[in-house]
Symmetry: C2
Subunit: 397 residues, 2 copies
């Protein structure tokens, strides 16, 4: 079959705040083919900047937009997805945003191929890579922001516990802003609210920059509350600082990786940063296949791969296919408090099952269906003109 259309859609809530909540807007990408099959993907990235990568005028042979690279191409097998990814990334060699933008298209191509072949994506990945296709359930951890105070954090934690969560990650907000005592009080509140049996994770939201000494002291101070990890204590680029931190073996393991915009960035973080959990967003790193390659690298290095997902369950579907077949990679970031937009985006979201676990869907493609009716009110139509050319006009949803 042939690719006939590649359409990005910018969706957003009416009011956007500075809170570190990635579900306030999104960019969806729809791929259509001449057989009537269509696939969907979601980017975790600036919607407008990424959309521009779908329509930017050519600058030369290394700046060619994604639509130009894909429309009219043949799409019949997983190898076509790999071939088209190589083409789109090569054509966009000098577009820094190419991975963030292309992620949505790549995921949508897998969705199409999975539907075409009647196979879930995790099984196609198993075939392509010659690995097991037996899936394993994941323990979902609710991913929420800290409350403004320890008391507010405690109440959030109690609420999650009452909803049945056995794991929860608390992040950003006040962490690192008001000194060590407050940082410790926040973690203590999360632990007490979730109870001693639960897993808690702490996300410092890059707050200590390259100050690995403070990051080390906090990791040691938090150890009394046994968090599963301390996430992003440092800036994504501060690889040497990560290396200095992890070499001291703090009693709380270090997690990072959501800022991996390329496979190499993740590899750099694993090999030279020494993290024990690598957190990859398939909606940023260029899609499902580069995320899968990082999963394989994590397996080689004996560290744990975890998804980063702070968008809708469309992103969650892409995320879970990547590592559904590894039983040791048993934690799943599960967006628990997203915007209405993110909650309405798919018709069949992932439920936490009676055993407290989440499972990949054994359905063709991603296995989730976009609810176009429900999300239409959130569409922000985009129009871009360059000179006398309209380079982007909104297709209907």
């Amino acid at each position: 079959m042939k690719i006939t259309a590649i359409d990005p859609f910018y969706l957003r809530m009416p009011d956007i705040t500075t809170a570190a909540d990635g579900t306030q807007d999104t960019l969806l990408v729809r791929v259509r083919t001449d057989t009537g099959l269509e696939g969907w993907g979601e980017c975790d990235a600036s919607p407008l900047v990424s959309l521009a990568v779908y329509c930017c005028p050519m600058s030369h042979g290394n700046i060619i937009n994604i639509r130009t690279s894909l429309i009219g191409e043949t799409l019949d097998a997983p190898d076509d997805v790999l071939r088209l990814s190589e083409k789109a990334l090569r054509n966009g060699l000098d577009i820094q945003q190419i991975q963030h933008a292309y992620s949505g298209a790549e995921i949508a191509l897998w969705d199409v191929i999975g539907q075409r072949l009647g196979e879930p994506i995790y099984r196609l990945l198993a075939e392509v890579s010659g690995t097991s296709d037996i899936t394993h359930p994941k323990l979902p951890y609710a991913s929420v922001l800290f409350g403004d105070t320890p008391e507010a954090t405690y109440r959030i934690a109690v609420g999650l516990r009452e909803q049945g969560y056995r794991a929860a990650k608390f992040g950003w907000g006040p962490m690192g802003q008001f000194g060590e005592a407050n940082d410790i009080a926040l973690v203590k509140a999360a632990r007490e609210g979730m109870g001693s049996e639960a897993q808690i994770m702490i996300d410092a939201g890059v707050v200590w920059g390259s100050d690995h000494e403070t990051a080390y002291r906090r990791a040691e101070a938090f150890a009394q509350f046994s968090p599963t990890w301390l996430e992003e204590p440092l800036a994504p680029d501060a690889i040497d600082a990560y290396g200095a931190l992890t070499k001291r073996n703090p009693r709380v393991p270090i997690a990072a990786g959501e800022g991996s915009n390329t496979y190499r960035t993740a590899e750099d973080l694993i090999v030279h940063g020494g993290v024990q959990f690598v957190q990859i967003d398939a909606g940023r790193i260029g899609g499902i296949m580069p995320a899968f390659q990082v999963r394989q690298l994590a397996e080689q290095h004996g560290i744990q791969y975890v998804n980063h997902t702070f968008k809708s369950h469309l992103s969650l579907a892409a995320a879970i296919h990547v590592f559904a077949t590894n039983p040791d990679f048993d934690l799943l970031e599960y967006p628990a408090a997203g915007s209405e937009l993110s909650q309405r985006l798919v018709k069949n979201p992932f439920q936490v099952e009676s055993d407290g676990m989440v499972r990949v869907k054994d359905l063709p493609g991603l296995g989730v269906r976009v609810d176009t009716e429900a999300i239409r009110p959130y569409l922000a139509p985009v129009r871009i003109a360059v000179g006398s050319d309209t380079v982007f006009e909104q297709e209907s949803l």
Copy 2:
């Protein structure tokens, strides 16, 4: 003084081809202040994608556009540039394109501060870093594309020699496309055309991907023509392949780095890729200061820093300030065959002086003046609407 306006301008030639010629279009950034001072910078990046980073609606606290970060801010001293860069990059943490886009603004901020203080930028850098402010001339190498054949390449080389160039880099086009014999014939033609006294450089334009074995064989085969370096034989991300290549010490030194979108990418290439020449574009890596930091890293590692410049002499001005004060870093990429647009862009381009050398201008700021009259015909006005909001409307040039 206060920053009152940040205006990007998309300029382009009437016809754009797939040739690896970066001068076919450009994005300029103009910074205006309440004192009437204005500064300019140029990005080497997709103009539309980068422009979107100046106006994209906020997604959350990590996706805030550059205009929002800068307009209304105080700008009185070099420290303000550093503070504003930190702010803009932090606000754009989750915008992959942030460095490519911000480069133009950062360069323009230095241009303003230099004018304000009556100092050339190289001197401000020397003050900030506590290093020498004595400048040294650079040997310009003409940066041109290979001809389609060895014969055409020979004629190009003879032409450059007749123009007085003592160094020239030949790149892209047929290199790596038609087998080893043709690759060797191309290099031989470049050497014979330029003569035995000249320096020649070979730019393979990432053609061998991660195939470091072929890259090694070519470097060895080219050694008989004594090129100064073999540039970008491999993909920018193929750091391990670069490491494998450089560990074998091919007789032609390896150069790379124009794809460095962040300081860390350049550091990774130097430390783990083992390149002997690192080529940085201040119009991609986030501006003059991160380029200067890579220069300092090159000094520490005993390798040579070279500019990457394939835009106008506005970019060349930014480039030369970065390493004007290092006498050992004596080569300058000098755009010799750019588009009309790139040649008309500044009123006072850098001339090759009677001794065959190019010198930094001892004038305030960048030291070059944008010729707004000359470039106005090339302006492609951009208009971007998101929902009912016009998020970008073209300011006049």
